[in-house]
Every structure is written in structure tokens, then in C-alpha cells.
Amino acid sequence: MLTVFELTRRSMRQNVKHYYLYFFALIFSMSLYFVFTSLQHDQAVQNMTHPSVDFSAGFQIAGVILIVIVGIFTVSANGIFLRRRSREIGLYQLIGLSKGWVARYLMIENILLGLGALLAAIICGALISRLFVLILLNLLGLEGIVDISFSVPAAFKTSMVYLLIIVITSIQMMLKVYRSTLLNLFQADKRPDLTKPPKVVASAIFALLGLALIGYGYELSGHINEQLFLNALLVLGSIVAGTYLLFRVTIRWCFYRFRKRKDGHLGLTNSLSMAPLMHHMKANANSLTLITMLSAMAITLISMAYAFYYSVEQETRRDLPYDFMFENEPQEALSFKMKLEKEGIDVNHHVVQAVLTMGSILDPNDEFHKVEESLLWLPAEQLKQTGADLNVPPDGEAILYNAGASLAGDLDEQSKRYPTEIELEQHGQTVMYTLRTLMERNIMNLNAPGRQLLVSEATMDKIAEQMAGTPGYKVIRFDTYQVPDKEELAIASSIYAKHVSDERLTYDFYAQYKEVLQMTGLLIFIAAFLGLVFLISTGSILYFKQMTEAEQEKQSFKTLRQLGFDVDMIMKGIIRKQAIVFLLPLSIGMLHSIFAIKAASFMIRSDTTFPASIAMAIYTVIYFVFALFTIGYYRNIVKNAMS
């Protein structure tokens, strides 16, 4: 007597070759969830990082995103599996088993599979968490060995997420069993979605609307930071809707036109690529939209995180051009230098004499705008001696250096204010100097007082002469230090920390760099693994979908082989289909992400092109592995179609 359990066990064994990738994806993402929650609750790594790095919040957000992805993934994959098992579900009912029995049978199978995956995920998670911690420490630039113990709360949370997944998929299964008629179940793969010609006017309108929505989204993303939250929602909404219309209407319309023009002379390759795609256009539109959006998000996430991580040094250098700086403290500076030399550290020491005055930078677009502020006049010739990368401005002209300029608004907008005039008041008289342009970096460390203006030494001397004795006038001696050797710099930084142990806010390059590195290291760690989960999810969904379609088309391949088309001819059509199915969402997703990265670039001053390209290239390579898998699966089916 065959019990439900026995039947389930047999069916699972039979389906295991279809489930293995699903399993792998599920176990991978859930292991990751386990690791993230473990890290969130673990103090060991937290204690090693800078207190400003919010460790547990980062992992908590990552965990939530993971749950969302895993949810989308399981629901999509489960939908595909249910569709491919339609006939089986129908057969059970045909031989007289009740809907309740079938639903129960599917749910038992689901729960057993789920339990297996849960166990595997927790075991894998516990085993690989050490590896993950090592990777994380490496990214954070920390050294040391951390023992991470098995986290009970993490295991509990992972189980809860599983429970949620099982509940959702069980509901999905019940809906499938109870709401579809026998006829639906048996014709699931025969019935095409859309073969009726699209209505010309409506299609044209919707096709254009799709493009317009995407265009609007792109346009709006250009000035997203004006009203961040509202605009981000608008951009997301219009892009999602536009992408859906693009797949559902625009591309279908193009296919339809192309096919109609062929008037039956479609050819083998198109018969195997375009025709099956149009056959399932509705279902394809949904999944392609989903995959495009997931790809876009994943690429944006990874690219931005990598851009941050990649540019930490550059970004920190913009704020702190010198490793160490002392302001009007020659004694302190000297004793620091002696301490360094005692440790055998090579150091380049330069003294820069600057002048601080009061004055106002005029706005040519707004005559009444006049705010008096501290201006720091720095001599270009002396700075050049320290190795700074700059050009000496002509006499009487200044260049404003401000690393935080982009925080004050759009840089292109700001650049319209230059060249402008600087107004100095000395003893009732006003003197004007030309301010040529703005550079988005500092020429002296962040903590130097006043606005940093680069002038020739002669100009500075002239200003000192003119302004001496006015309120706020001050001559400042900067002692700047550069330590060329990276390892020595680390030691120097700790000496500096001890040297200036008082309450003052001090900045040294290395400490700042480390702190930002830890923040972005955490970011890239989370983003890279989340991105991987996105990628595996999207790749798997595509693979499952294509796998199901391949099986549905098996008879067609057999017929074609019998008609005398050989494997390579058929594969040509299949490869074209895979190229469309994989490339279309990837390229549109990538285009979306390029605009998203551009929009998000206001958060980062360095150029994001290079790190973003690297991230995209890696994403594409891994993505194509799934395409190759799919093509391999198809080739196997076509090869064995005759037997």
C-alpha cells in the first residue's frame, strides 16, 4: 500500500534533478541569512571595529533584504514548479483523489524539502561563518583571529524565516490545487498566452507609454537628490511600470510586426526562438520584468558598494591631503617628529606659512549676497614644496579648494558662480581679488580654519601687508607631515594618537582612512553577498523557466529531428532564444543601473566609472554561467530527443 509519505518520497527522488539548483539557491541564501544574523548578534567582530561603524544595523538591514529576495525567489520558483507539475496534479484528481489529498501531498513534500534545506542551511551557515568572518576582517583591514560561536538566536530566526516561506508556498500550492480546473491543469503548457494580434492603436500607445515611462524615470533620476524620498519612489515606480510595458507590449509588438512581415516564412531559427517566446509572452513579461529589476538593483548595489570601497583612499585624501598637520604648534610638531625619528620612521616635514583674514566671496548672480567669513590664504609655491599637486595661480588670482563643495548642492550649478570676486575690507578701504574657480578637494587638512584659497606667494604677502592688524587677521604656521611608507604610517598614526591625547578634535589621514574603510568594508561585504544572492536567484529563476520550457518543447525537438534537422541547426535557434531571454533583461537592467548609479553618485566624489565597470563585468560573467547551464540542458534534451 502506497502511503502519502511513500509517494512523496518517490516523487522527491524523481524530482531531485530539477530541485537541486533550487535547493542550492535556497540553502545558499538561507546560510547567508544565518551568517548575517549570527554576525548581527556577535560581539567579537563588533568590538574590533571603530565604534562609529554600526555593525548590527548593517546586518539587520541586509537580513531584511535577504528575506525579501528569498521570498520573491521561492514564490517564483514554486510557481514554475507547480506549472510544470500541472499534469501530475491533474492526474491525481483524475484517478479520484480529492483536492484536499493532493494539496496535503504537495504540502508534505514541501515541508520535507523545506526541513532538509533548513537543516542544511544551518549546518552550512555554522560551518562557513568562520570563513565569512575571515573575509569580513580582510575587507575591514583588520587582523586577528575571531572565534565565532554557534548562534542560537540566529538559528531560531532562520527557522522562523523558513516557516514563513513554507506558509507562503503552501498557500500558493493550495490556491493552485483548489482554483484550477482539470482542463487548466492538463492544458497548462499547450495554451498560448497571446496569439491574437495586438490591437494596433492600443499597442502603439502602450508601447510608447512604456518607453516614455522609462525615459521619464531616467530624466528624473538625474535630479533625484532634490526631493530624495519622493523622487526615488517616482523613479522606481515609473521604471518598473515602463519595463513591464516594454516586455509586455513594446517587445511583443516588435516581434509581432516582424513575424507578420515574414508571412509564414519564419525559418527554423526564429521558429525556435521568437515563436516560443511569443507563445509564453505574458508569463515571460512577468518574469523578465522581475529579472530586469532584480538585476538592476543587484548591479547598482554592488557597483555603488564597490565604488565606495574602491575610492576610500581617494575620498579621504580629498579631505586630508597631509598625513599629519599641526597648526601653530611648532613645539608639539617638533617633538612628534622626534618621536617618529626615534622609531626609525621616514617622514617628510614641511612648514607652510599661511594668512587668515576676514572677507567675503561675492556671488555674481546675487548682488546682495555678502557674508563675511574667515579666509585662509595659502601660498602655492610653499605647498608645491610639500609635493602637492597644483598649479601656481597668476598674481592677484585665487582658487577655492573645498572638499565638501558637493554637499552644498549641485556642482554644475555652483560652477556658474565662478569666476567671481573676493572682497577684503582693510581700514575702511575695500580691495578685490579674482576667484578663478572651485576645486572639489582640500589643499590643507580639513581642520585648518577658514575657506582654503590658493594664491601665489607674492599675492599672499601682499594681502598680509594690506590686512595686517584688521580684525581676525592671523598668521598661521602649518607643520605638515607625509609618511611615504604605508606600514610606517600605521605606526605613526598610533604615535600621533598618543601624542595628541587631549580632547581636541584631531584628524590624521590614516585613522580617518581606517574608519571609512571599515564602514565601506562592511558595506561591500554585505553588498557583495546580497548581490550574489540576487544573481543566483535571478539566474535560477531563468534556468528553471527555461528548463520547464525545454521539457515542454521536447516533442517539438523530436519532431524536428525526425524531419531531418540536426542538433546543431536546432541549437542555433535555442541559443538565439537564450540570448534574448538572458541578454534582454541583463542589458535593460544594466541600463537602469547605469542611471541609478549616476543618480546615486552625489554620495561619492570620486569617479564611479571604473569600479562600476568592474562590478558589472563580474556580474555579467557569473550571469552567463547560468546561460551556459541552460544551453547545456537544452542541448542534452535535443540530443536525446530521438531516443
Binding site: P192, L563, G564, D566
Partner: protein, 261 residues
């Protein structure tokens, strides 16, 4: 009819054997079959289930290999051809009609019919005129842009016939073409096949267990237990008379004329 029977040989099978399974558990399905088909013949192959008729068709149609013996089609020994050459051979020289139509669900009637010539060098205009001619004979011109799920079984099988004919093959192989059709659709398909055979001189080899279907043929070959049992020529007989003759042979063959029951 007679002048059509006297023609060049299109297909020649000599001492064809086919064995399935391994040595210990071998099943000898075809035990030395000889068959000659001449140009423009309409040959029916009959026999009870298990007599080897579908196996014979597969072997003749190059879908399966013989264990022993030779099959020549248009003087080419198909057992000596490589798989690639066999594919090309099927594509260029053979047409197929299957019991369950085997149309591609994703293609329209016209696209299905034009599929076999999709890789040939035929110009679009030629293909179009060939399609029109065949579609008119088969009476499916009006269905050109319909999908298989939108048409009846009989229409599907006529579409399949169109697909088997479009590239002007040397032989059309039909495997139980009426097996899934009701009697009305079946006779309309057979009428069409007879018409095509007579008007266009297409050579047809059809496997069937239905005496009505084989009564349309010009010759019926009976198989029994993997061997040729007997042969009947229609000659000038009416279809009805030929049908009765076929029934008589079937009765002798062992009363299994109601196949599968």
C-alpha cells in the same frame, strides 16, 4: 493506376532485420523483410500490434537503424550514411505524417508547413506558390494564420500532410495518420492523400491497422511476426471490393483485425 505502378524503384529493402535489447534478452522484431516501392505507389503496411509495422516504418524512414540488411532510397544506402547525412537526407528526400500530428504548437499552420523548406535554397516566391498549391489541395488555405490549438484534429493532420509534402520529397511516410481522427476526418484526409498521390505522383508508405485506410492504397503489405505475410494489389478494383479483400486477409491473419482490443 497501372502505369503508375510500373516505375523506377524509389525504396528497396533487402533482408531487413531489427533486434531490440541485449543479447540475453533480445527481441527479434523484424526477421528479414524485403520490400520494393516504386515511384508514385501508395503502399499500406498492415499487421496486428507487435507485428513490427511501426518498427519497419522507422527503419525505412531512417529514424532507426537496421540490425542487418540494407535499405536503399533513391539508390542511396541509408545504412551507410552518417547521422548528419541522414538528417540532411530526411530533410530533403522524406516527408513524415505522424499519428498525433506533431505540429509545433508555437507556429501557425503556414509556418508549420513551411518549416521543412526553411533551410533550403528555395526562394520565397517559389515557396509561396508551392504553399498555395498544397494548401489548396489540402483545403487549409483559410487556416494559414491559425495556431494548432485553434483547429480540429482533421485540420491538424492535413496541416501535417502539407508539412510532409512542401519540399517535394521522394517518399512520404505516414504512421497511423488516421489513428487519432474520427471517421469523417479520417476519410477526408485519406481522400486528400489519394488525390495527392494520384495528381502529384507522390510516393506514400503508410502504416495502419485500419482496413478502411488501407483500402485507399494501391498495394497493401501484411506483416506477421516480423515477416511479410502477404501482399494485395488494388488494381482496378473498387475501394469497397479492395476493402473486403483486406478484411479477408486480416481474418486469416488471426482475427486481430480490431487492433489493441
Amino acid at each position: 493506376m497501372d502505369q503508375l505502378n510500373v516505375g523506377e524503384t524509389v525504396l528497396q529493402a533487402r533482408n531487413v532485420h531489427k533486434t531490440f535489447g541485449t543479447k540475453g534478452n533480445a527481441q527479434h522484431v523484424l526477421k528479414g523483410i524485403d520490400l520494393r516501392v516504386t515511384r508514385s505507389e501508395f503502399v499500406g503496411i498492415m499487421g496486428a500490434s507487435g507485428s513490427g509495422k511501426t518498427t519497419l516504418l522507422n527503419v525505412l524512414a531512417t529514424i532507426d537503424h537496421t540490425t542487418d540488411g540494407t535499405v536503399l532510397i533513391d539508390d542511396a544506402d541509408i545504412s551507410k550514411l552518417s547521422n548528419t547525412a541522414l538528417s540532411a537526407f530526411r530533410r530533403n528526400k522524406l516527408g513524415f505524417i505522424f499519428q498525433d500530428y506533431n505540429l509545433l504548437d508555437t507556429l501557425t499552420v503556414k509556418e508549420n508547413i513551411l518549416l521543412p523548406i526553411s533551410l533550403s535554397k528555395m526562394s520565397k516566391r517559389e515557396a509561396e506558390s508551392e504553399f498555395t498549391a498544397i494548401a489548396n489541395v489540402l483545403d487549409i488555405k483559410a487556416l494559414s494564420h491559425k495556431y494548432p490549438h485553434e483547429i480540429s484534429g482533421g485540420q491538424k493532420q492535413r496541416t501535417a500532410a502539407g508539412r510532409a509534402l512542401i519540399h517535394q520529397p521522394s517518399i512520404v511516410f505516414a504512421d497511423e495518420p488516421t489513428g487519432a481522427l474520427d471517421s469523417k476526418s479520417a476519410s477526408s484526409l485519406l481522400d486528400v492523400m489519394e488525390k495527392v498521390n494520384q495528381q502529384r505522383g507522390v510516393t506514400v508508405v503508410m502504416v495502419t491497422h485500419d482496413p478502411v485506410a488501407s483500402s485507399y492504397c494501391s498495394r497493401v503489405v501484411f506483416l506477421r511476426d516480423g515477416k511479410t505475410y502477404s501482399e494485395l494489389y488494388r488494381g482496378d478494383k473498387t475501394r469497397h471490393a479492395f476493402f473486403n479483400e483486406i478484411m479477408d486477409v486480416q481474418a486469416v491473419l488471426g482475427g486481430e483485425h480490431v487492433d489493441g482490443f
